[in-house]
C-alpha cells in the first residue's frame, strides 16, 4: 500500500520515487526544527536517568565512600581481601563451568532443531519452554531441584532405595556451591537455544549447495563452512551465558541456606547486615567489581557479534 502511494504521488511532482525517498530525511529534519518534537523524548530520557542511570551511579560511587560519607578507597581495597577474592573466584568459576556446559549442550540442541518448521508445534514448545526456564525460573528452579535431588528428592530417593547409591554420602552439597551447578545448567541450556538458534538459521542454503557441487561431504561442510562461520556467534553466546550466570541471584538465594559463596549473595549480606568484613558500603564496592567483570564480558560479546554479523548480510 505504501509503495503504491509513493508511485501515485511521484508523477505529480515530476520526480522519480527514488528521489522522493532520498529527499525524505531532509524534509523530516526540517519538521523536527519547526515542532519541538525532541520534547517527546523527555519522558523516556527522564525515566532512564532516574531508574537506570541514577541507581547505577549510586551503586558505583558508594563504593568510594566511607562510613561518614567522605571519599575513601578503603572499600575498594577490600576487593583485594582474600574472602572477597575467593567469592569472585567462586562466581567466575561457577559461571564459566555452567556457561561451557550450557553452550555445548544448547548448541547440540540447536543443531538438532535445524530444518524443523519454525512455526511448527515442536519449535513452539521448545521456544516457550526455553523462554520460561531461561527468563522466568529463578526461585522456582531452586524448588524444582530440591524436589529432584534434595534430601527427600525423587532422584535421591530412587538412587538410594533402588540402586543403593547415596549422592550425599560425603555430606549434603545441594545447598552449597556445588549444588548450584545443576540448577544453573538448567537455565543456561535454554538461554543458549534462544540466543544461538538465530545464528544457525543464518547459514545460507547456497553454501551447502556450493559445498555439494564441489564434491564436499557433510563433514567437509561443517568443518570448512559451518563451524568457521558459527564460531564468533558461538563464543558470543558463551559470553552471554557467562554474564547471565554471573549476575543471577534468585536461584542461589532460594537454594543456599547459609554463607555467601557467590558475589550476589555477598552483596545481599552487605546490604542487609553490614557486617561483611566489618565494613560499611562494601555493597557498593562489590557492585563496582561486578560491573567491571560485566563490562569486560559484554564488550567482548558485542565485538564477537559484530564479527558474526559479517556473514549475515
Amino acid at each position: 500500500m505504501a509503495d503504491t502511494l509513493v508511485s501515485v504521488v511521484a508523477p505529480l511532482e515530476g520526480v522519480e520515487p527514488a528521489a522522493v525517498r532520498a529527499r525524505r530525511p531532509e524534509s523530516s529534519r526540517r519538521a523536527a526544527f519547526t515542532v519541538p518534537s525532541f520534547l517527546g523524548l523527555v519522558p523516556f530520557a527522564a525515566y532512564i536517568l532516574l531508574f537506570l542511570g541514577l541507581p547505577t551511579a549510586i551503586a558505583l560511587f558508594t563504593g568510594f565512600l566511607d562510613g561518614s560519607g567522605s571519599f575513601s578507597l578503603t572499600n575498594i581495597e577490600a576487593l583485594a581481601d582474600p574472602v572477597v577474592l575467593n567469592t569472585f573466584g567462586n562466581s567466575i568459576g561457577l559461571s564459566a563451568l555452567t556457561a561451557v556446559i550450557g553452550s555445548v549442550v544448547g548448541a547440540a540442541c540447536c543443531y538438532a532443531l535445524i530444518g524443523t518448521n519454525p512455526t511448527g508445534l515442536l519449535r513452539s514448545v521448545v521456544d516457550s519452554a526455553s523462554g520460561v526456564l531461561a527468563q522466568f525460573g529463578g526461585v522456582m528452579l531452586a524448588f524444582a531441584f530440591v524436589a529432584t535431588i534434595g534430601i527427600q528428592g525423587m532422584v535421591t530417593v530412587y538412587l538410594r532405595d533402588s540402586l543403593g547409591i547415596d549422592i550425599f554420602a560425603d555430606g549434603v552439597w545441594l545447598y552449597e556451591l556445588p549444588g548450584l551447578v545443576l540448577p544453573y545448567i538448567y537455565f543456561q541450556v535454554p538461554l543458549m537455544i534462544i540466543t544461538f538458534l538465530p545464528a544457525l538459521e543464518g547459514l545460507k542454503p547456497q553454501w551447502a549447495e556450493a559445498n555439494a557441487s564441489l564434491g564436499g561431504s557433510r563433514a567437509t561442510y561443517w568443518w570448512r563452512i559451518g563451524i568457521p562461520v558459527l564460531t564468533p556467534s558461538f563464543l558470543g553466546c558463551l559470553l552471554l551465558l557467562f554474564a547471565n550466570a554471573f549476575s543471577s541471584f534468585a536461584t542461589a538465594a532460594a537454594l543456599t541456606s547459609q554463607g555467601s559463596q557467590i558475589v550476589p549473595l555477598q552483596i545481599r549480606a552487605a546490604l542487609t547486615s553490614e557486617t561483611v568484613l566489618g565494613r560499611e558500603n562494601l555493597a557498593g564496592a562489590l557492585a563496582l567489581g561486578m560491573i567491571v567483570v560485566m563490562v569486560i564480558v559484554m564488550t567482548l560479546y558485542s565485538l564477537l557479534m559484530k564479527r558474526s554479523a559479517k556473514w549475515q548480510r
Binding site: 525524505r24 519522558p43 537506570l52 519449535r123 526461585v139 557492585a287
Partner: protein, 268 residues
C-alpha cells in the same frame, strides 16, 4: 546436507528433553506424596484450592495479586514511555537509533543485584512521593523488561515502513494523534503484544529487587512459604511455571499465522 539425520536429531532432542523433564516431574511427584505412610494422593492440591481466598495460603494469594498489579503497571509504563519514544526515534531522530538501542540493552549488562544497591536510596525518595505501595516497584521493573520489550517492538518496527505510513496518513489530512492511534499502533499490534507478554512473564518471575527492597511479590512469598510448607511452595511454583509456559506459547502463536500467510502469498 546441513540437516541432521533423523536418528541424530531425535536422539539429541530426546535425551535433553527427558533430562529437562526430570525436575518438573519431580515437582509433581513431590506435591502428590502422602506424608509418612507413603503412597500418593491429591490431598495437598485439594487443600490449597479448597481454602480459597481466606484459607491459610492467603499470603501467597495476596502476593500473587501484588505480582499481577505489578505486571499490569509495568506493561502500562512500557506502553506509555517506551512505545511512543521508539516511534518518535524511528520517525524523527533516526540518528538516535543506535543510542536508543544501546540504552535499551544496557540493563543486560547491569545485574539486578547491582541495580538494587542504587535503587534503595532512590526508592526512599519514591516512597515519599508516591507512598510505599507495591505498584511503585513497577518503575524498576520497567527497566529490567526494557531489553525484552525493546527487541520485540523493534523487530516489528523494522518490518513496517513507519515513515511512509505516517507521511501517507499526514498527506491525507490526519493529525499526529490519528497517525499514532489509527495507523501506527494497529501495525505494531504484534510487537506490542509480545512485548507485553514477555514483560508479564519477567515480572511474575522477578525476585531480586522485590526481596532486597522488602516488598512482597509472588516469588518472595514463595520463598517464605517454602520454609514452613515446601509442598505448597512447590505446588504454586509448578502452576506458575505452567502459566508462564502457556503465556510464551501464546506469544509464539500470535506471530505464527501472519508468517504462514506471507509464505503462501509469496509462493502463489
Amino acid at each position: 546436507m546441513i540437516e541432521p539425520r533423523p536418528l541424530t536429531r531425535w536422539l539429541i532432542l530426546g535425551v535433553v528433553g527427558l533430562v529437562f523433564l526430570v525436575p518438573i516431574v519431580a515437582m509433581g511427584e513431590f506435591t502428590l506424596r502422602r506424608g509418612l505412610e507413603g503412597g500418593y494422593d491429591f490431598s495437598r492440591w485439594i487443600a490449597v484450592f479448597s481454602g480459597g481466598l481466606t484459607g491459610e495460603y492467603k499470603g501467597v494469594l495476596t502476593a500473587l495479586g501484588n505480582s499481577v498489579v505489578l505486571a499490569v503497571v509495568t506493561v502500562a509504563v512500557m506502553l506509555v514511555i517506551l512505545v511512543p519514544t521508539m516511534i518518535l526515534v524511528q520517525l524523527r531522530f533516526s540518528y538516535l537509533r543506535r543510542a536508543m538501542e544501546f540504552l535499551c540493552l544496557l540493563p543486560i549488562t547491569i545485574p539486578a543485584i547491582v541495580l538494587v544497591v542504587g535503587l534503595a536510596p532512590v526508592y526512599s525518595v519514591v516512597a515519599k512521593m508516591f507512598g510505599s505501595g507495591v505498584w511503585t516497584l513497577s518503575f524498576a521493573y520497567g527497566i529490567i523488561v526494557l531489553p525484552f520489550a525493546y527487541r520485540a517492538i523493534q523487530a516489528n518496527l523494522q518490518a513496517i515502513d513507519v515513515v511512509t505510513l505516517s507521511e501517507a496518513a499526514r498527506s491525507l489530512g490526519a493529525g499526529w494523534a490519528t497517525v499514532l492511534v489509527r495507523v501506527l499502533l494497529p501495525n505494531l499490534r504484534r510487537g506490542i503484544l509480545s512485548a507485553s507478554f514477555i514483560s508479564v512473564a519477567v515480572v511474575l518471575g522477578e525476585y531480586t529487587i522485590a526481596a532486597l527492597l522488602n516488598r512482597v511479590n509472588l516469588q518472595t512469598a514463595l520463598v517464605i512459604v517454602s520454609k514452613s510448607d515446601p509442598f505448597v511452595a512447590v505446588i504454586f511454583a509448578l502452576l506458575a511455571l505452567v502459566f508462564a509456559f502457556l503465556l510464551l506459547l501464546a506469544i509464539g502463536r500470535v506471530g505464527a499465522p501472519r508468517r504462514k500467510r506471507s509464505l503462501t502469498g509469496a509462493s502463489s
